[in-house]
Symmetry: C2
DNA sequence: GGTAATAACATGTCATAACAAGTTTGGAGA
DNA sequence: TCTCCAAACTTGTTATGACATGTTATTACC
């Protein structure tokens, strides 16, 4: 058992690693179509289930995305330039050992409030799609996210897995490159509904965040109310960060 | 298309959601055995491929782990108590839109250096397992992780997927609950090998981190050298954090 | 020429089947 | 009683096949 010990890896892992290497090496650039499942079956000489197992792993790692009927594509890295670098170190240092997930509470079409209408630039007669989710960190609920989408965006969300992050979904699968976001924060007491979802007492303090996200053309695509548990509130201070880094990029990238 | 619009969800998603709800509600506590695939097939009246699709999603979300021959188990939340809370807010605020992955460079059995021997408490004749990986953030390499494991731990790593985080693997699949870790940092120039893997010039500054991780019984299980790209170095300052939070826990949890 | 039906192709879902490989259990034999 | 081995049960891997559903390109009709 010396050296690289690839000994006898399963087929699907070999295929996954091959494709992963090609993507990371830039053989497939963002949005570029990858070989279809049939082609992969032929070129690797395996069955479809094996190909799909490899693709599923790549999807899980965010390296590819698929659209039914169209094909499989190398996915776009980097969303939200503003924060792109900041988790870098912390993530790499600490990421190993916690777990996040989200649980869909409800998704439905609603008549938006005046505020939502204004933020999303919606005409008074149009509807909007409301998505309510609870986000968990290490099995504990940390936030309730109430998101509103214009119909033409929200329409596509009913059939999607909303147990994961929505932004990559917008960027990759719905092909909506995201641009700037406006955020405002305040502390307020939790109402009964939020308190219940966050397993806290009604009236306990929560961080109330409003976030309006635009696409690259500056059209609003997502207006959210995020209610964070008060005891995660302090991390707010860490948002402040050092902007004096030598360069955003450097040679070789 | 009003209201919760579950319309006609695929079977595997229904199963996944059912199990997920049960886990989050505490029906299955950490390390508790879940129903076997056969039992799930019977109770849901579906084929094995469908059950496995649901389980795979749950695995991806970190809610369960499996061990061949033994079964499927609800996984342990919370590792590394020290940092458990800190990503909470940042994660929830910003997690949506970046992507991390790791690429295995090599895994092999080596004769450990004296330093590794001492740290891992290894007798002079014994071997150790060396794992070298490159970690990516948004498709850019950010660190080279060189990890050393005692043989009795490292032995099991050859057959695992090392493209993901290793700590959850140790905790859940290998059943090694982790305890404290010692970390030391310094800046130093990159050697040729690391520079190549990180796509930077040899001699460019990197953060050189040594981390020794113990299990709960204080036995060393993992000694690592982490080489971070210099331009992620500044985030180091964010490791300093507010310890005056009201309490680690509060009512209702 | 423009449009609408259709064929071809892509991924999504699900069933049945088989064997490999790791773990546990129980029974046979010393 | 203790040890060892085989049976039974677990998850892991892979093949074949089928139909559903979404997209694109072509073809035929008006």
């Amino acid at each position: 058992m010396k050296d690289n010990a690839m000994q006898h890896q399963p087929l699907y892992l070999q295929i996954k690693d091959t494709l992963k290497k090609q993507i990371l090496e830039g053989k497939y650039v963002p949005y570029q179509k990858m070989p279809s499942e049939s082609e992969l079956m032929a070129s690797f000489g395996v069955s479809r289930i094996t190909v799909r197992q490899a693709l599923r792993d790549l999807h899980r790692e965010g390296l590819i995305f698929t659209t039914q009927g169209k094909g499989t594509f190398a996915s776009k890295p980097k969303a939200m330039q503003e924060v792109q670098h900041l988790e870098g170190f912390e993530e790499a240092m600490n990421s190993q050992g916690y777990e996040t997930s989200a649980q869909l509470v409800s998704i439905r079409e609603v008549n938006p409030t005046k505020e939502v209408q204004e933020k999303l630039n919606i005409q008074s007669k149009e509807g909007a799609v409301e998505v309510i989710r609870v986000r968990y960190l290490n099995r504990e609920p940390v936030s309730v996210d109430t998101s509103f989408f214009p119909m033409e965006v929200g329409r596509h969300l009913f059939s999607r897995d909303l147990g994961r992050d929505i932004f990559p979904l917008l960027e990759n699968e719905l092909n909506i490159p995201l641009g700037r976001a406006e955020i405002s924060l305040e502390a307020r007491p939790a109402d009964a509904n939020i308190a219940k979802l966050l397993q806290m007492e009604p009236g306990a303090p929560i961080m109330w965040v409003q976030r309006l996200t635009h696409d690259v053309n500056d059209n609003p695509v997502d207006y959210e109310y995020l209610a964070f548990r008060g005891d995660s509130y302090k991390y707010h201070f860490h948002v402040e960060r050092d902007r004096t880094r030598t360069s955003g990029k450097q040679g070789g990238l």
